[in-house]
Subunit: 177 residues, 2 copies
C-alpha cells in the first residue's frame, strides 16, 4: 500500500523564522522583541517596522541562514518511515528565497529528495493526506486533514487540530497508523 | 462559481526547449539535429551527448533564454478569462533553473501572478481540473483530465487526449465550457 502523504511547510514549521527575526531585530536595530510579548500578534504587529520586514525576508542570505526548528530533523526522519513527506513552501512571493530554500533543505534535510520539494505561491492545488502549516490561509483551502503548527501569530485561532511541537506532531501522526 | 483550474507545464509546452537545444547543439558543437529525425525518440537519444545534455540544461542562463512556444502567450491570456491557470514546472532537478524560470515567466507571462506559479519535483500531489504536459510520467498520476502536448519524444504515446499546438489546446478547452 502506498504511504499516506504529508505536506510540511517550511517557515514557522521546520524553519524557525521567529528566532531568526528576533535575532535580526536585536543585531540590526538593537530592538529586543520578547517571545511572550508577541503571542497572538500578526507578523506585521510583532515585527513592526513593516517595510523593513519585507525587505529583510527578501534580502540575500536571509532564508539560507534560518535556524532549524527544534526536533524537526529527527521527527521528519522518523515520519518518513511510515509516511511520504513533501516539503511545500510558499516561496514565490520572495524570489530570492527559491535557490536558498533548496540549499537549506539540502543541508539540513538531505534525506528529502528533490522529487519531494515544492516551492509555490498559493497552496490551493496541493493534494496530500495531511498538511502541517502555521498559516490558517493555507489550511483553509486544504482538502485533506489540516494540522496547525503553533506559532506566535496563530495562538488565537481555534479552527484546527493543533500541535505545539514536533514531538506532538509525531505523536499525533503515529496514532493514525 | 469558481473557474476550473489548469496546471500548465513549462518545458516543451510554453517554453520551446526543442528549438533551444537544436540551436545550442548547432552553435556549440556544430551538430545539425533535424526536427524530422528526432520524432519519436527519447530526449537522451535525440540529443545524444548525454552527460552534456544534463550539464547544458543545468548551466547558468539556459532556462532564462528559452524561446516562447508559438501562440503560448496569447493562448494563456485567452484561457485566463475562463480558467484559473497554474504554471507547474518540475524544476527541482535543476536548482539553477529556479530563479531563472521565475524571471522568464515574469518577462513573458507577466499576467500570471506569483500565487499561481509552482516549481516542484514530482507532480503527483498537484490537484487541478486539467493538466497540460508533454511527459507521460506527469500525466500518469494525475487525477483530473490529462492533456498531452505534442513533443518529439511523445509522438508514439497513445494514452492521452493529444493537442499538437496551442490553438488546438484552446479549442479543446473552450468546448468544455
Amino acid at each position: 500500500m502506498n504511504k499516506k502523504t504529508i505536506a510540511i511547510d517550511m517557515d514557522g514549521v521546520i524553519a524557525d523564522i521567529e528566532t531568526h527575526l528576533i535575532t535580526f531585530y536585536k543585531e540590526k536595530h538593537g530592538i529586543e522583541i520578547s517571545r511572550e510579548g508577541i503571542q497572538g500578534l500578526s507578523e506585521e504587529k510583532a515585527f513592526p517596522i513593516k517595510e523593513d520586514l519585507h525587505s529583510i525576508v527578501n534580502s540575500k542570505g536571509f532564508f539560507r541562514t534560518i535556524p532549524v526548528m527544534p526536533d524537526a530533523v529527527e521527527s521528519l526522519r522518523l515520519l518518513q518511515e511510515n509516511f511520504e513527506i513533501f516539503i511545500v513552501s510558499a516561496a514565490m512571493e520572495f524570489p530570492v528565497s527559491l535557490g536558498e530554500k533548496f540549499e537549506w533543505l539540502k543541508e539540513h534535510f538531505p534525506f528529502i529528495g528533490w522529487e519531494n520539494i515544492i516551492l509555490c505561491g498559493s497552496k490551493r492545488i496541493i493534494n496530500t493526506d495531511y498538511m502541517i502549516d502555521d498559516h490558517p490561509k493555507n489550511l483553509d483551502s486544504f482538502t485533506g486533514k489540516p494540522i496547525m503548527f503553533t506559532s506566535f501569530h496563530n495562538t488565537e485561532k481555534e479552527n484546527y487540530l493543533r500541535v505545539n511541537t514536533w514531538k506532538e506532531a509525531v505523536a499525533f501522526l503515529h496514532q493514525t497508523l
